[in-house]
Amino acid sequence: MRYRIFPAIGIARLGEDDNFFLGPERPGAGPGELQPDGSVAPVAKYKDATCTKVRKQGARFHIFESSDGVNWSLANLPATATVTWTVTLENKKSAVTRPANPPTSPTRPQVPAGSEPLVIKGGTKQVSGPNVTSSLFKGTYATTAPDGAPYSVEIELGQLRTDGQGRLVVLGGKGFSSAPAGVPLGGSYYRNPKWHDDVADGPVTAEIRLSPTSVPIQAEEGAWVIVGPPDYASGIDCVVTLYDVLRQVGIDEFGVPAPGAPSFDLDIAPILTRVRRLRWVHDDATWSDPRLDSPKLRSRDAADQPLRDGVRNLVLQVESVFEGHTSPAGPPFQMRAFQKKLLDDWVVGTFDDTPAPPRVSLSAEGLTRAALEGAAGQGFCPGIEAGIIVLDKTLYTTPFDFRINHTVVSAGDLTALMAQPWQADFLKCNTEWWPTQRPDLAPQADGTFKDWIRGAASHRLLVERSARLGFVVQQGADEVFLEVERDPAL
C-alpha cells in the first residue's frame, strides 16, 4: 500500500485569533468550521466577537492510500497506527534579493551572504496523535534602524494542531508586520526594505507506523503549506485560481490530459459563478449583466447558443478588466487555455448537462483543487498567496499531481518574492487586480456599496488596521453577499 498526503498544497491564512476555521476541502464548499468528529460545517464568523481579530484559516492535511498509485482513497489505518507530521515554516521576504518590481518570469529566491538574520526561521515542528498542539513556530527578525540601532523582534509564524482523528492542521501567524522606527513604508507596493511580515511556507511530511513496531512508511513526496494573507471575500474566487494555473502547467509540461467535454455543473458553472460574484466586490457592469443569471445557460439547445456565446464574451472580459503585470514582459491576465477550451465546447453545445451530484465526501483530487481554488492565480504582480514561481515546472514532482519537490524547493521559497509587506500590495492594488481576495467594494445591507478599505486607506493604517476591515460573506443560500464583521469603531 502507498500513502500520500492531500491536499498536495494546503493554504493557511494569517489571523490573530487562534480560534481557527479550516480552508476549503471540497470544491465550491468554501471554508469550514471544524466539528469534534472531524467533519466541517459552514463558517459563520471570520473574526472574533470584537471584530478586531481575524480568525486563522488552518490548512488540514489527510493521509490517502492507494494500491495502484492511481486511485487514492482516505487511508483506512488500523487502530494501532500513528502518523507523525513534520512541518517547517520560514519567511524569507526581507532577506532575498528583491527586484524593484515583481519578476516577470519564474525566479528562484536568493538569500545573499549576510542577509541570513533577515530570514525568519520558524523552525521544524512535529505532532502526532489526536487533539495535539505543538509549540509555536517562532523566529527572529533582525535588522537595523536608519540610525544604525539594532532592531530585533520575535515573530510567530504559526503552530501545528491535530484534529480528533490525528489529521494535521497547520496554522499561520498573527498578521504582524513591522520595521524599525523611521523606516518608510509606501514607496513601493512591492519592495519596502527592512519591512517584514509573517506569511510563510514550507514542507509537510508524514511518517506512518501501522503499529508501534512496524517499519515507518513515509507518505510519498510529502506536501507543502503556504500561509497567506486573509481572504476577505472567501466565497468569491478568482476567475483564474492557483489551481487553474497549476493545472495548465500540468497539461503543458507534464502530459496531464486536458479536460474533455465539460460538465456544466463541474466545469462551466464554477467559472460563471466566479464571474457573477465579482459584482459584489468590483463595480464593472459586466458582472451584473443579466445574461449571467439566465437559467438557460445549462441548456444545450442550439437556439440558446447566442446566449452562451454572449456569456462567454462576458467571461472573457476579465482579460480586459484585470491586469496581469505592470511590465510588458510580464504575463498578461489571461484565462488558461483549458478554461477557454471548456468555454468553447460549452458554447457549441458539446457538454454534459447532467446534474452532478453534490460532492459530500473528501477526495484526493478534490482536496487539492479546493485548497488551490481559494488562492489567486491571476495578476502575478506579484500575486497574493504564491507568485509567478509556480510556473516553474522544476518545482514539481513527477508524475504531476500538484506536488512540490522537497529536494529542490526550500521552506520560504514560494512566498519569498511576494509583496514586502503584503499590506503594501493590498493597499495599492485595487480595481484591476484581486477584488476576490482584497475587495474594492463592500456591499451593504441597504443595497449600496462602500469602499472596502475605508478607514485604513494608507500603508501605515492598513498595517495597523487590516484585522478590523470587514469580510464580504454570502448570506444564506442565495447569491447575496454583504460586508460583515467590520469593526464598528473603524
Binding site: 524593484a100 518590481n101 509606501g186 514607496g187 513601493s188 507596493y189 512591492y190 463595480d283 464593472d284 457592469a285 459586466t286 451584473s288 449583466d289 454572449g310 464574451n313 462576458l314 472580459q317 480586459s320 505592470t326 511590465s327 510588458p328 514582459a329 498578461p332 489571461q334 495599492k428 480595481t431 484591476e432 486607506a457
Partner: protein, 476 residues
C-alpha cells in the same frame, strides 16, 4: 492659470558664435564627452528662444510649458498607437501594446515632473496641461500631432522625436534613414526636445558651474540673470502643498520618473532624468529611443500585428495632419463620449494639481481627484478607445475603422478657480448624459451587446465624479 500662447523661436547661433564653438572643440583642451554632444545638437537645431517675456523666470516657465505640451502630445500619440496593437503577446512573446503603453506612462511621468518644475518656478499658478496651444503658435514643433496606427513612418517619427544627439555609431545609418522618412512625411524638420531640456538645465545651474560649459547667453538672446539659485524658487511650504507625488499618482514602477524638486540642484537632476529616459543627449538602454528602435526592427520583421484604425480621427478638424472626420453617426456619438472623457481626464489632472493637499495628511479633495483621474485612465480611456477602434469610420458602408479622437478643448483649462473647474466638470458630464441616451436610442446600439455594460460603467464613473464634486462644492 492657462495664459495666452507665447511664441517659441529656434534661434540659430551667429556665425561668430558657431565658430567659437567649433574652435573650442578643435582646441583639444577639453576631454570630449557630453559637451560635444550639446555643441553638435545646438549647431543642428538652434536655441529655443521665448519671445514676449521679460525675465528669466518667465522665459524658463514658457520653455517648461512648451516641453509639457510636447510630452502631452507625445503621450497621446503613443496611446493612440498602442490602441492599434492588440493587447497580447506576439509570437515572439513580446507584448508590443504594453511596450507602447509603458512609454506613454513614462511620458506621463515626464509631464508630471514638468508640472513640479513649473511649480518650483511659478507656484501653482504656473501649472499647465494644455497640449496644442504653444505648439500651434510656435515654429518647428518637435513633432506634429498626428494620431496614427503603428507603421514604419510613425515609428520613424517617434525615433526622430526621441533620438539622442549622439546616436550609437552602429545605428547611425539606420537612424538617418528613419529621420529622412519622418521629415518627408511630417513635412517639417523634426527637432529634439533635448535642446529645450539642455537650456533649462543650464538655467538651473549656478553661473560659476555654467561657465565651465557652453555659454548659452553667447549663442542666443536670453534674459538677464539667466541662472536660478535656490533663493529664486518658490517657498518650500507652498511647493509641498501642491507638488505631484508618486504615492498620490500610484507610480509603482521605478522606470516611471515622477520627480519632485525643491532646489535648483534637484531641478537639474529631474531634467537630467527625464532627458536620459526619453529625449536625451546620449543613448542609454531602455530609453524611449532604444524602445522605438526595437519596435522598428520588430515591425520590419513582421512581428507586430496592427489593427487598421484611422489616421487622426476627429469629430471636428484639429491641428493634426491628414485628419479623418468621423462621419458614421453611431461612431460619432462614441467619439464624443471619448473626447469628453479625455477632456475630463485632463481637467481632473489639472484640478488635482491646483488643489492644495490638506495639512492634516488626509487625502482630501486633492486625493479624491487624483483617484478619479487614475480611474479614468485605467477604466475609461482604454475600454472606450478599444470600442471606437472597432466601429466604422464613415457612413459609406466601408470597412474602415475609426479610432479615439483625442480632441482637446483648450478652453476647459482657462481658469484655475475651483468654481470654474467644477462648472467645467458638470457641463461635460451633463453633456455625456445626453450622448449616452442618444447612443441607447441609436438603431446600431442593440447589435453591440456589450455596449450597455460600458455605458453602465461610464454612468457609474460620472456619478462618482458628480458625487465627489457635490460633496466638495455646493454648486455641483
Amino acid at each position: 492659470m492657462q495664459r495666452s500662447p507665447t511664441r517659441i523661436r529656434w534661434h540659430q547661433p551667429s556665425p561668430a558664435a558657431k565658430e567659437g564653438l567649433e574652435r573650442e572643440a578643435a582646441s583639444g583642451l577639453r576631454v570630449a564627452g557630453d559637451r560635444d554632444v550639446v555643441r553638435e545638437m545646438l549647431l543642428q537645431v538652434g536655441i529655443p528662444v521665448v519671445e514676449g517675456v521679460g525675465t528669466a523666470r518667465e522665459f524658463a516657465i514658457e520653455l517648461l510649458k512648451l516641453a509639457a505640451e510636447v510630452e502631452h502630445a507625445l503621450m497621446v500619440q503613443y496611446l493612440y498607437a498602442a490602441t492599434s496593437i492588440p493587447d497580447q503577446p506576439e509570437p515572439d512573446s513580446v507584448n508590443y501594446h504594453e511596450k507602447l503603453m509603458d512609454v506613454a506612462v513614462q511620458e506621463m511621468g515626464h509631464l508630471a515632473t514638468l508640472q513640479n518644475l513649473l511649480l518650483l518656478l511659478g507656484g501653482p499658478k504656473a501649472f499647465y496641461m494644455q497640449r496644442d496651444v504653444m505648439r500651434e503658435a510656435s515654429e518647428k514643433n518637435p513633432i506634429p500631432f498626428v494620431l496614427e496606427p503603428i507603421n514604419k513612418t510613425s515609428l520613424a517619427k517617434y525615433v526622430a522625436a526621441e533620438k539622442p544627439a549622439q546616436v550609437p555609431p552602429e545605428l547611425e545609418a539606420q537612424v538617418d534613414e528613419l529621420v529622412r522618412l519622418a521629415e518627408k512625411d511630417a513635412g517639417v524638420d523634426t527637432h529634439r526636445v533635448g535642446a529645450i531640456y539642455e537650456l533649462l538645465r543650464w538655467m538651473f545651474t549656478p553661473p560659476e558651474e555654467a561657465s565651465a560649459g557652453i555659454d548659452f547667453a553667447m549663442l542666443a538672446p536670453l534674459p538677464a540673470n539667466p541662472h536660478f539659485s535656490d533663493a529664486d524658487l518658490q517657498d518650500l511650504s507652498e511647493i509641498t502643498q501642491y507638488e505631484a507625488l508618486t504615492d498620490e499618482w500610484q507610480v509603482f514602477e521605478e522606470d516611471v520618473i515622477l520627480a519632485t524638486a525643491h532646489t535648483a540642484a534637484e531641478a537639474r537632476d529631474a531634467i537630467d532624468r527625464i532627458a536620459e529616459q526619453g529625449e536625451g543627449l546620449t543613448d542609454r538602454s531602455r530609453s524611449h529611443f532604444a524602445e522605438f528602435m526595437e519596435m522598428v526592427a520588430a515591425f520590419e520583421a513582421g512581428k507586430i500585428s496592427v489593427k487598421p484604425i484611422a489616421k487622426s480621427p476627429t469629430l471636428d478638424a484639429h491641428e493634426g495632419q491628414g485628419s479623418e472626420v468621423i462621419s458614421h453617426r453611431y461612431t460619432q456619438l462614441w467619439g464624443e463620449v471619448f473626447s469628453l472623457q479625455y477632456n475630463l481626464l485632463v481637467l481632473t489632472i489639472y484640478h488635482t494639481l491646483v488643489t492644495p493637499r490638506p495639512s492634516d495628511g488626509s487625502a482630501g479633495l486633492r486625493g479624491a481627484l487624483a483617484s478619479l483621474a487614475l480611474r479614468g485612465m485605467r477604466r475609461v480611456v482604454g475600454p472606450v478607445s478599444d470600442l471606437i477602434a472597432s466601429l466604422p469610420l464613415r457612413d459609406d458602408g466601408s470597412s474602415d475603422k475609426a479610432g479615439p479622437p483625442y480632441d482637446l478643448d483648450a478652453a476647459i483649462l482657462q481658469s484655475d478657480a475651483d468654481h470654474d473647474l467644477v462648472a467645467q466638470h458638470i457641463r461635460m458630464i451633463d453633456r455625456l448624459a445626453t450622448v449616452y441616451s442618444a447612443i441607447e436610442s441609436s438603431p446600431d446600439f442593440p447589435s453591440h451587446l456589450n455596449h450597455a455594460n460600458i455605458l453602465a460603467n461610464l454612468r457609474n464613473f460620472d456619478k462618482q465624479r458628480r458625487d465627489l464634486l457635490s460633496s466638495a462644492s455646493p454648486i455641483a
